[in-house]
């Protein structure tokens, strides 16, 4: 858990809601990221409370992956400040070291060392983080068991299916018992059985007081899993807060989301296709 109290330098602005007291797991302040002409992240402010199951939702291209990459230290922001567990991600090496020791990541679109077997990957990853060898092997065995990978532990990761890859990536991210876990699209392309396994492990992990931040565009999933939601679209945060608050009066998160990103108008544009599904005449 964060060992440093909220130092007061951060003031929630704009859409960022008031903090409930405990030090937040993640604070993002005025962060920008530009790729050439395109602005991927447009000056966002975000406060994610500790000990919650948090969903970062948004359509494709909303900037979710860019945001998570900047929070986890994989991508340098153009400007702004990011603190994870009370430590600045981009300031001095000591602060960066504290952040890296406290987080676990499952990135999207980046490879693993796929020419290692599942077990070897965990052994490598744990030792790289400085854990004692015997402890790494013990934890690896348990994680492989729980994630239903024990039967394929000696197979190379390159031969794994999508679901198995996500699970071994999750195991590598959990191995050092991080405070905050960042998962980019952990359920994308995953079969229902593996998804259930992942879900079980994550629920057990958050019940211990740890924080999970995951991105997704499947609203039903986010609604059923998360107690805190941040909605992103076009590089901006459209809403953030407890699930009930973001949902407001809408019946489902899906509806609230469509309303927030302004996609309801686009759905109505389907009216112009009035010929589609109409009477089909003789085309000869």
């Amino acid at each position: 858990m964060p060992d440093q109290a909220f130092d007061g330098t951060f003031e929630p602005t704009g859409a960022a809601p008031e903090n409930s007291g405990a030090a937040p797991a993640v604070q993002v302040e005025g962060v920008w990221k530009r790729f050439g002409q395109q602005i991927a992240v447009n000056g966002i402010d975000l406060v994610l409370p500790a000990g919650k199951f948090i969903g970062l939702v948004g359509p494709n291209g909303a900037g979710k992956t860019t945001t998570l990459s900047m929070i986890t230290g994989l991508l340098r922001p153009d400007s702004g400040r990011i603190r994870v567990a009370g430590h600045d991600v981009w300031r001095d090496p000591e602060s960066v070291a504290r952040v890296k020791a406290r987080i676990g990541i499952l990135p999207e679109g980046l490879r693993l060392f796929e020419r290692l077997s599942g077990r070897e990957l965990l052994a490598y990853s744990g030792r790289l983080r400085g854990l004692p060898g015997a402890e790494v092997d013990k934890r690896a065995t348990q994680l492989l068991d729980v994630l239903d990978l024990a039967g394929s532990q000696h197979k190379l990761v390159v031969d794994y299916s999508t679901g198995m890859r996500k699970k071994i990536g999750l195991a590598a991210a959990l191995l050092h018992n991080p405070d905050v876990l960042f998962l980019d699209e952990p359920f994308e392309g995953v079969d229902p059985v593996s998804a259930q396994t992942i879900r079980g492990v994550l629920e057990r992990y958050t019940s211990s007081g740890a924080t999970v931040v995951f991105s997704s565009h499947v609203m039903e999933l986010v609604e059923s899993l998360c107690d805190w939601v941040a909605v992103m679209a076009g590089g901006r945060i459209r809403a953030q807060g407890p699930l009930a608050e973001v949902k407001g009066s809408a019946a489902t998160l899906q509806e609230a989301f469509l309303e927030l990103v302004g996609a309801h108008d686009r759905a109505a544009a389907g009216d112009s296709l009035d010929w589609l599904g109409g009477a089909r005449g003789d085309r000869s």
Binding site: T72, P93, K100, I105, R111, E120, G130, K155, D159
Partner: protein, 544 residues
């Protein structure tokens, strides 16, 4: 499965018509292909003319050779080379012929026996088989003397042709399955390299033969190749001409047996392909537990514990398991050994060439993180301070040194054994290790300053837009490495010129110390920069 059973009778009755169907299909595909563009037609006609001209010269050459003492050996060896060519061709041109692509025939109710027969006949149509037919006719014409030999020759010509074609087809069909699995794709990446190295070895052999000018080597080679189909059929004609009918019969029989075996293998692969079309899962499945202690194998027990052991273990595994890393190492090891040894065989050979080996392998340190590709994030996540970066770079340099040092010693000793100069070994080792240190140091600098991506899914080794940087980094390193060793080379020259030969051994400890110093300096210089540049390095190696 009831459909094929009921369709069995009519298909069986229609058997004789299947072969002409495939031959016609092949001819119309050829015709339609040519109709698509006039450039293609011109290329086809030109290649046909060239092939026919070469074939004519070849037949003429064989006829002129008739009666010469080496005729038999030349005919047998040429046939052997053709057989090898047919075997290797499908690896380079896997989809050369649409009629032979079994995946296109999966939906048709075809029975394997008539299908193989039809495909065999259809694949006899084309310039390649025509060229081979000319070769076979020429080869037997060069050696056939007497009635028995002529009769054998009449049997040998179609046998040579059919064995060549069946060999090529069987390998191609087996290859379709192989290429659709991950292991097959890995092997395909390596096969080109191995073939290039094989050609180089043959080249060295031919040059050695050219220097000695001794044709008895040809006879020795022919006596071996003469027992390998399809060359055994030509050797049978030679034996029949010599009056040894038993030997002739045995060699001819060998070719027939080989043809039958190839057809059986082809048919088996075809059938399996047709009923198990998805090769990707088949290839991946049998990969389960081979080594239950793989997590903590022999390698792990030899290496130190903690981070150093983990980094080294992964690097060693990647040298063996990652096709691109493996290809780079295999070629560096082969070139690093062949160049000094080949030079040693020349009159002006020198044991100093052993330094080439350490330089070649030292080059593997360049672009360390590009070899990781985007998996570098796993490394980046565990590096927070310059000390972590220092450890990561140092451990990778250890891996390079662990392979290069013994390899350089081996190459130097081998070169000394051929070219002499045992007494020079200490100074050679000194220079070689200093050069290794310099290359590793440069590798550290280049890996951190100029990382570039090695795309994992294509045959290219550089992502678009990074080629210039990659070439500049590698060539710059090749020049800068020896340059960095300048002081040591200067000392060596001075000791030699001034006649202080008794002090030359000093170069060994000095070289080791100098190399280590260079590496240490580079690590100190670059570790801070690496720790600060992690996101930039990750972005550079994730392209492509």
């Amino acid at each position: 499965m009831s459909a094929p059973a009921t369709a069995g009778a009519p298909t069986a009755a229609a058997e004789p018509s299947l072969t002409p169907v495939f031959v016609r299909l092949k001819l119309s595909l050829l015709r339609n292909g040519l109709r698509q563009s006039s450039g293609r037609t011109a290329a086809f006609v030109a290649s046909l003319v060239v092939v026919l001209l070469i074939a004519a010269f070849m037949v003429l050459g064989f006829l002129l050779l008739r009666g010469h003492g080496a005729a038999g050996a030349v005919a047998v060896l040429t046939t052997g080379v053709f057989g090898l060519g047919w075997a290797v061709m499908p690896l380079f041109l896997p989809s050369g012929d649409e009629t032979l692509d079994p995946s296109r025939l999966v939906m048709l109710p075809l029975r394997p026996q008539p299908l193989v027969r039809a495909l065999l006949v259809a694949s006899l149509v084309g310039t390649g088989p025509l060229f081979t037919l000319c070769l076979a006719v020429g080869a037997v014409a060069a050696v056939a003397h007497g009635t028995a030999a002529t009769v054998t020759a009449v049997l040998a010509v179609p046998l040579v042709l059919m064995v060549c074609v069946a060999l090529s087809r069987a390998i191609a069909t087996a290859n379709v399955r192989l290429l659709s699995s991950r292991k097959g794709r890995d092997m395909a990446l390596l096969s080109g390299l191995l073939i290039a190295l094989g050609i180089q070895a043959v080249n060295f052999g031919a040059q050695a033969l050219g220097r000695t000018g001794d044709l008895s080597v040809l006879d020795t080679a022919a006596s071996v190749v003469g027992w390998l189909p399809p060359a055994s059929a030509v050797a049978a004609v030679d034996s029949a001409a010599d009056g040894d009918l038993v030997l002739a019969g045995a060699r001819l029989l060998l070719a027939v047996v080989a043809l039958a075996a190839l057809l059986w293998w082809w048919r088996r692969s075809l059938v399996r392909l047709m009923v198990e079309p998805d090769g990707s899962t088949i290839g991946a499945a049998p990969d389960t537990v081979k080594d239950p202690a793989a997590g903590r194998g022999l390698l792990a027990r030899l290496l130190p514990g903690g981070r150093t052991g983990a980094v080294m273990e992964r690097c060693f595994r990647y040298i063996w398991r990652d096709p691109k890393t493996k290809a780079a190492w295999v070629s560096a090891l082969a070139v690093g050994a062949l160049v000094p040894l080949f030079n040693a065989f020349q009159e002006n050979g020198s044991v100093y060439w052993a330094c080439f080996a350490s330089g070649m392998l030292g080059l593997q340190m360049f672009n360390q993180f590009g070899q990781d590709s985007s998996a570098f994030w796993m490394v980046a996540q565990t590096i927070a301070s310059p000390a972590d970066a220092y450890a990561e770079l140092r451990d990778r340099a250890y891996v390079m040194a662990a392979v290069t040092v013994p390899f350089t010693v081996l190459v130097a000793v081998g070169t000394a054994a051929v070219a002499g100069g045992w007494s020079q070994l200490p100074e050679v080792f000194g220079l070689a290790f200093a050069l290794l240190g310099a290359m590793l140091a440069l590798g550290v600098v280049v890996s951190v300053r100029y990382p570039y991506s090695i795309p994992q899914d294509s045959h290219r080794n550089v992502a678009p837009g990074q080629g210039g940087m990659a070439i500049a980094a590698i060539f710059g390193g090749m020049f800068a490495g020896p340059l960095l060793c300048g002081p040591l080379i200067g000392l060596l020259v001075w000791l030699r010129v001034s006649g202080h030969h008794g002090l030359l051994w000093l170069l060994l400890p000095l070289g080791v110390a100098y190399g280590a110093l260079l590496l240490w300096g580079a690590l100190r210089l670059m570790s801070g920069r690496m720790a600060r540049r992690l996101p930039e390095i990750l972005a550079a190696v994730s392209k492509g």
